[in-house]
Symmetry: C2
Subunit: 393 residues, 2 copies
């Protein structure tokens, strides 16, 4: 096992009756809060009103930044930092999905620098080390940004997504209320759930190093648990246990516990360039690419068969067919079937009327860049990537 | 799922090459460190010298408190606090087992109060809320005190063990080096390993409430992983992976993640009064009592059969015999066999020449006290406790 350091300081308030603690967490940092959110959804579910009442009841000065995009833009981040400086904001409250929380982290860092442009931080033209405190209130089980230390921001001018990371960006507190996710659509629930699974595949489960018994077994258990609970949440959107399990699992998948000791490349996430290129939800892109990636690897390199066979039996619940190759094939088929029949997500790009692949448009160099190769589950060449993409058609 | 709050701020340095970070963690708090340890074992393994060199190289002023007992005494805690006050200690470094870390936490709290006697804190005669920072360096995989917020101290005059707890007592940093556990004897390794399992049984696995899919599945996985890795560590004391797995598992079992949402009574730990009454290692007492407790419950109340059957199949790895009762019986038998044949621990008190039980001597009222009953896996009367103890003979 590689040496590692682990610390996760986020204070989690989990459950349906925790909002009364919000003012305590805000007032630890000051009286001026910037509430960041996306569109109308937090108003529709009544969360906006409940948050505002709670804040105003305690004489907290509330400023707002709404309209954060699903792939949050650096121009929105810049706008947020401008508000923070103008109104001497002491803490940012992010209420929404991973995009809103990521944007808030970026605003938190940018505010305390000398530049007006977040991209200067991404390109390391301006150094940063401090950030305003962020409080996260996720409304979908997906990215786990609420306990994580990174953020991903889109630069539309440059047609690229990138970000920054650091322990100071971890939210100081996170309010995880499963009832806030009851109204998330089946489609977004499925995409969010598959994103959690892909985080686990990518950084902790399909690894090229030794498997560390504790971390590996826990990750496998998380995957199996999500595979079981996600269809329940889709059939019964207000099933508290299923929603709570997904929400807490999203945090676990990315809060650094599961990755402890591993040094891996997030290969599926590097391959998943469909969302930015064709403007689709990230989890949908991952759902299309994952079974194809597995099939391609299995054809190319039989040494993955044992891992995929174990995945088939322990995560997907297939019966032992007696040998690794058959079990691996059955495992991949079960995953594809799960995506199609239980999650109702597409398994090919053709279903979305995308019938041609232009590799130049898909920025996949992370997959075959020199830095990533030693950490890759299996190294992929540019040709491999193109072949995988073609299988997705 | 019950609402819950979760935060664990301990910074973990895990691995064999992390000691170089010790001075950074010490100097965050000041230049005067009290090194607390037990007997000669940290000197024998060279840890004492390595720690002292690291501290002195960075001009840190070192004070020492040695001789912490296996069941640490409140008089030792009092002595430690006296040293802290006299030499203006800024941080306590606990190098040893759970006893040493627990004693250090108690010293940390006592130092900042107005009394000289730790028992005043236990009996709430003197209130406390602050504590000196503690850095933990566990040398055995067992109590998980290194990420936990509580401590247990013995008062020999009153013949009772009790303690205090609070988030402020969580170690600020913990150095977990599996190689420091290589020389732990087979006997102590087995006792420590079983203690970890009992923590999981007690607070997270045998619960009277709904099972929360994520937490429950993870706890089951931890139990299975320990069941697999503990015998490896016994056969190959310097197997890094096995030792690392046990050390990290000990922290996981008690760092509040697994218990999130549960409100349970630690019934096995309440029943385990053998260690204080007959002066034996805590883990050994737990190993004797656990299978008897399961057998007694199964005879008394068949509703436990389903839980014990699942335990048998998923943790102990027995084959499905077709019905819960048979699987439960086979699961208990497998556990008893594991304790006897693989851990080489006793399964009865008679093996230790204890042939009579005096219930008055065993302070088990925690098992049938009114406060605990609503949280108990299954409520036990005084008579039940005596019956279980008699089965242990």
């Amino acid at each position: 096992m590689n040496d590692f350091q682990f610390q996760n300081t986020t204070k989690v308030y989990f459950g349906k009756d925790q909002l009364g603690h919000l003012h305590e967490e805000v007032l630890k940092h000051g009286k001026n809060v910037l509430v960041v959110y996306g569109g109308e959804s937090i108003k529709k579910i009544g969360l906006y009103d409940r948050v505002m009442n709670e804040l105003k009841e305690h004489d907290i000065n509330v400023y707002e930044l709404s309209g954060v995009e699903p792939n949050p833009r650096h121009t929105t981040v810049n706008k947020g930092a401008q508000i923070c400086r103008e109104y001497n904001i002491s803490v940012i409250l992010a209420a929404g999905g991973g995009s809103t929380i990521d944007a808030s982290k970026a605003i938190a860092a940018l505010t305390l620098t000398d530049t007006d442009d977040f991209w200067d931080l991404v390109e390391k033209k301006v150094s940063w080390k401090d950030a305003l405190p962020v409080i996260a209130m996720p409304t979908i089980a997906s990215t786990g940004s609420e306990m994580d230390k990174s953020c991903v921001i889109a630069n539309v001018d440059k047609n690229v997504k990138s970000g920054i990371n650091g322990d100071i960006l971890r939210p100081k507190a996170a309010f995880l209320d499963p009832t806030n996710t009851f109204t998330v659509s089946s489609y977004q629930t499925a995409c969010g759930g598959f994103d959690i699974m892909a985080h686990l595949f990518d950084m902790n489960y399909f690894v090229n190093s030794d498997k560390y018994p504790l971390q590996f077994n826990v990750v496998e258990t998380l995957l199996k648990t999500i595979r079981e609970q996600l269809p329940i949440a889709l059939k019964e959107p207000d099933n508290y246990t299923a929603r709570a399990t997904l929400l807490w699992a999203a945090s676990w998948a990315l809060n650094s516990f599961c990755t402890s000791g591993y040094k891996t490349q997030a290969q599926l996430h590097a391959l998943e360039q469909f969302s930015s290129t064709y403007d689709m939800t990230h989890g949908k892109g991952l759902a299309i690419i994952t079974p194809k990636w597995m099939t391609y690897l299995l054809n190319k390199d039989e040494t993955v068969a044992n891992d995929f066979a174990r995945f088939g039996m322990n995560v997907m619940g297939i019966k032992d067919l007696g040998n690794d190759m058959d079990n691996a094939l059955a495992g991949i088929a079960a995953l594809q079937n799960f995506i199609k029949v239980e999650l109702h997500l597409p398994v090919t790009l053709s279903e979305l009327n995308i019938t041609d692949i232009d590799l130049d448009k898909l920025k996949v160099k992370a997959c075959y860049g020199q830095d990533s190769l030693p950490m890759a589950y299996r190294p992929l060449t540019q040709e491999d990537c193109l072949n995988i993409y073609k299988m997705c058609l």
